[in-house]
Symmetry: C2
DNA sequence: TTAATAACCGAAAACGTTTTCGTATTTTCG
DNA sequence: CGAAAATACGAAAACGTTTTCGGTTATTAA
């Protein structure tokens, strides 16, 4: 089972490699007759161009890199799916890497992608990435780069995000509209911007509606897990915190809290109303169903890959790319957990 | 920002390209002194070998292909995660493609991977893949191939699977042990082997324990969705099927059913006990928590990639690969939905 | 001292493609 | 009819690496 090359076709037909190559790519300086002959022979031998050689020659890999903190995650896997689908449609393949929210891994992975000479990189940063030299390097090397969801404002590349602050504001306001006056917030870690922004949105909403902001009502989830949701729910009950509403940084945390409240017979939403964030699929399948903020993963993925393609194209044409910042709309979805 | 090549280093130092290449790879016929000098210069210029050229020369891409039916799926994304993690540890990157359970897409994607000349392919087949010529082609081209979960018995490659029939048998038996005598089965589509096997396990368990198998108690889920779970639950209630236990093909379906039963105030597990399949994360976070069969995604992913590496290595050594079939153990996890 | 051996380095081919440029042939047109 | 233009093809360089094989020194043994 020998490799079929242009050379073989050329030899079989008694013509040159150059002509074969050009015939297959419909160059104008090849006669129709020879084109036909060459194509027939190529088909007969099931010729497939050697992508290694093509890559080397054209200096592009037709491959993109995608780095996300976690694969097993509804929001991220939705994005992954959308990106893969659109990339393959355009003849590009996608290499996926998972940073596990580790900045060190992230640096290594960027390095891997650069070495592989991918044609573009999409990334959602690890939670506590602060050093951004690896990203600067990507920019310096002129590799098209698009960030999404977890971004760094210090890198002047295109970004696809949501307005976490506004979304959190609206989620909190939703609870207020439902009559909650003592709203707790299960926030994320202290570092990443999303977590900070959601917290700020929560705080602002309280202040704008005449409610006092009490730091004791804000509990930190370092890992943003189901278990933390349960633990904080327990903390609230055991310490008799006076709470009638909860805004959780994520559906995962909200579900943990709900599960614990269910066990302790706390009525939701009557005694405590809850709203999550992300519109994870399962939030509509819970009992009670979970109110949440829709974070449109599929749409975001589509925007990300489209922007990347735009930048790859502009780079090829030698034009300068004007980075954009696309803020996707979010909206509160009311379900049973806040439906008073 | 010019590309740094071996040639540049060679010119800078006034030696040949060959020597530079060998020095960087610690060939024995290069003196320690020149090795040091070369390495220093390479470090100074931040030399990175051009992977296109390396690929072409060595005829390997250090890249693997992975095709799965769905990315947004707890079981599959767990596998993806494990595979990516192990692959990168060994210096390999992973290209992921999603077949959407479409045989046509699957064929195209296999073709893409072959063209990209990946060093190995891992695949879980689309639900209704029957024509397997694309897989035969992979075998013919001697590309290492490992199948998992949804496999084809007709292809003599390595496989990592579970014993669906046995697992389903045990799930059904679990319900019987709990005192159920009228057990329904929400089965999957008629075609794929997993679906058939789980059905057969269910049937066998009934027969082995003196219960009559009634085709009317088997309802088909063509898409294996949450909604189908709900619809079948409704069907059962509306048609007054005499049911005291349900074995669902998947947690997703089971959760749908539970959700509907909750709405209709059917007590679980008192009136109807339910067991799912896969041990999807959320099954332990439901109310009531869902009994299920553990399908160890992470472990399976690890086995898959390890076997693939083994075969890649053997191929390099020119040895023949002996395909293996690894049947991973599963076990019933009892939770509230069957805990009488 | 000479021959044999070891140590070190470089020339060059090869991987398979793309593309520029030149050349030979044919056609067009004044 | 002759010059210009159009048509069709091929030679060859280039992409950057790896590796074989010779060749040149320096070292050792006889």
């Amino acid at each position: 089972m020998e490799q079929v090359t242009l050379k073989q076709i050329a030899n079989n037909l008694g013509i040159s490699i150059a002509t074969v190559s050009k015939a297959l790519k419909d160059y104008p300086d090849v006669s129709e007759r020879t084109k036909e002959i060459v194509k027939a022979e190529a088909a007969r031998l099931q010729y497939q161009p050697n992508s290694f050689a093509v890559n080397l020659r054209t200096q592009e890999s037709k491959t993109l890199g995608l780095i996300i903190p976690e694969v097993v995650h509804y929001f991220f896997s939705s994005i992954v799916q959308a990106i893969i689908a659109h990339a393959t449609k355009k003849g590009y393949l996608v290499i996926i890497l998972q940073s596990d929210d580790s900045p060190e891994l992230e640096v290594k992975q960027i390095d891997l992608l650069i070495r592989k000479r991918v044609d573009g990189i999409m990334i959602s940063l690890a939670n506590d990435t602060v050093d951004i030299n690896h990203l600067k390097r990507v920019m310096d090397l002129q590799i098209p780069l698009v960030m999404f969801d977890k971004i760094s404002k210090l890198i002047p590349c295109s970004k696809v995000i949501i307005d976490d602050r506004k979304a959190a504001y609206e989620a909190t306001k939703h609870l207020i509209d439902k009559g909650c006056t003592k709203i707790a917030h299960l926030r994320g870690p202290l570092l990443p911007q999303n977590s900070i922004d959601r917290f700020l949105g929560y705080k602002k909403a309280l202040e704008d509606h005449g409610l006092v902001y009490d730091p004791k009502m804000v509990l930190v989830c370092n890992k943003i897990t189901y278990e933390e949701g349960r633990e904080h729910a327990q903390f609230i009950l055991d310490n008799r915190l006076d709470v009638d509403g909860i805004f959780a940084i994520t559906d995962m945390v909200a579900i943990g809290a709900i599960s614990y409240f269910n066990e302790r017979q706390v009525k939701i939403p009557e005694e405590i109303a809850i709203i999550g964030f992300s519109n994870w699929f399962i939030s509509s399948a819970m009992t009670p169903t979970l109110s949440t903020v829709d974070q449109p993963g599929t749409k975001m993925g589509k925007k990300v890959i489209k922007q990347l393609f735009k930048e790859i194209k502009r780079k090829k044409e030698g034009k300068i790319v004007q980075p954009i910042i696309d803020v996707m709309p979010t909206n509160v979805i009311e379900r049973a957990s806040s439906g008073r």
